[in-house]
């Protein structure tokens, strides 16, 4: 667990105790609500996580690495942005991977596109986002995020 997760547990624990001291019934009700939310989402989340496991088996980081290092920058940028949208690899894997490529002289444009879509665009989490915020919200947010990821990548390619 990173420090942020630990502190969130700490803050939540303190808030929970304060809540119990102030009003037992209200706390009890809100825990029932937490349970309801959990029940509502947990099936979907586990489905998503198992799907990510499948995707990573068939599109392993090595494949992504060779895509990012592709010599045609235009194609590799688009493909990298798409790969980042589909996969959800953890940052501590993504940054060293991209870092080693950039050190080896690969263009940073596909690298940046990949890093940005990796976290901001979520094709696998789309069903969950759609259920929570509606089709319109989820679709438009993901499309904008994708477009801006490519723009950010291009601008970084010009600046750096």
């Amino acid at each position: 667990m990173d420090i942020f997760t630990v502190s969130l547990w700490g803050i939540t624990g303190a808030a929970f105790i304060a809540s119990i001291v102030k009003d037992k019934q209200k706390t009890f009700n809100s825990m029932k609500m937490a349970k309801g939310m959990m029940k509502n989402m947990v099936g979907q989340i586990i489905g998503i996580l198992l799907l990510i496991g499948l995707i990573l088996t068939f599109i392993p980081p090595e494949v992504i690495k060779s895509t990012l290092g592709e010599s045609n920058t235009f194609i590799s940028t688009i493909v990298s942005a798409l790969a980042g949208s589909i996969t959800l690899i953890p940052a501590f894997v993504a940054f060293p991977l991209v870092g080693s490529l950039v050190d080896a002289g690969a263009s940073i444009i596909p690298a940046v596109a990949f890093l940005t879509t990796l976290t901001m665009v979520g094709l696998v989490t789309f069903p969950l986002e759609k259920r929570e915020f509606g089709l319109k919200f989820a679709t438009i947010r993901n499309i904008f995020s994708f477009v801006f990821a490519v723009i950010i990548a291009l601008v970084m390619g010009v600046i750096m």
Binding site: D2, M31, M33, L50, G53, L54, F95, T116
Partner: protein, 184 residues
Amino acid sequence: MKIIGIIKKNKLLTAVSLAYVILFIAMPDKAYLSVKNSMHYIIEMLQIMPVIFIITSIIEAWVPKEVIMKGFGEKAGIKGIVFSFLLGSFSAGPIYAAFPICKMLLKKGASIANVVIILSAWAVIKVPMLANEAKFLGVQFMGIRWILTVIAIIITAYLMTIFVKKKDIPVQDERDLDKIIGFK
């Protein structure tokens, strides 16, 4: 009938489970590798989601609507944007951990623009991630990407408010949920 209901509610989980069953028969080594890959994410989820649900419910119960509206509402202005970036940047967990919190904030009067900022910041510009990025790609790389990302997030947030209105956001199942658990 009940089983059909459960399958209908968990279409994705059902489909993925089926894929796993087929994979375990056809290519057991790949199936095993997929489970191993998933474990990392499942552990991460178990560490963060219970606490997210608890804190969301506590905020829902105790923080008055006016406070949320003042901090994150339509009229919160620059302050709302700054608050949203701070909340997203100092958060923990993957983007789906932000969903219940943002949904609750929306219900309590946060604006769509600020919710988009929280979601996006939560996803891309978290502080531990930035430290990692600086380590492997350099401070300059991280800094420029951070600035560009913040600008992109603000533009996205404003464009979103043009296309998406509050009425497009479903509240139906939330109301059902309240009924089921007898809350309020």
